[in-house]
Amino acid sequence: MGAKIDAVMAKGLPERDKRNANRVNLWAFGWMFSLMGNMILTKIFDQGAGVFWVLIFAAHIICGVMLVLSYRRFLSQLDEMERKVQLEALALAVGFSILVFSAGSVLDSVGVLGKPDAAVMVVVMSLTYMGGLIIGRIRLA
């Protein structure tokens, strides 16, 4: 049981991979907080908040681009088995999200469900990605 938990927590990764993962997490937090900042400012100020809003929006775009680049670097230098787990989890997340949204669109067109918005897509992708990581790590442990 302990070995499975160690595997799920990805214990024992080389230091390089831990450093790269920390960079990805840092940019992900920046991206998330700048997104929250943009949403809060948009709610407070109907017409936008001028220069301050533009600055936070620019920070959001920069954090997003850096997040993608740091994740790409993380994947390219990652331990090869963990890379396989990550890529399979990504494939699962993308595939499942496409299925959910295509089903949502069909149900929306016949009026059964409302069209799922972008926030739902982010949540579906994130949860499926995390599920894929856990399943992959347990399978190979």
Binding site: A3, A7, E80, M81, E82, K84, L140
Partner: protein, 64 residues
Amino acid sequence: MRNRLKVLRAEHNLTQADLAAKLDVSRQTIIAIEKGKFDPSLSLAFKVSRLFEHPIETIFQDAN
């Protein structure tokens, strides 16, 4: 794919963590290779071969 990684590691008195550090991979990767759940890349197989000074084909064998 079958392999003799566990035997060779024991012969060289290496722990899984030691071998992982020498090969620059995670301990989980060593565990998965030893259990036959994960097939290493060619470059990792060459690293193993150089480390133990054995030809690749004597360490890794096709399961079929």
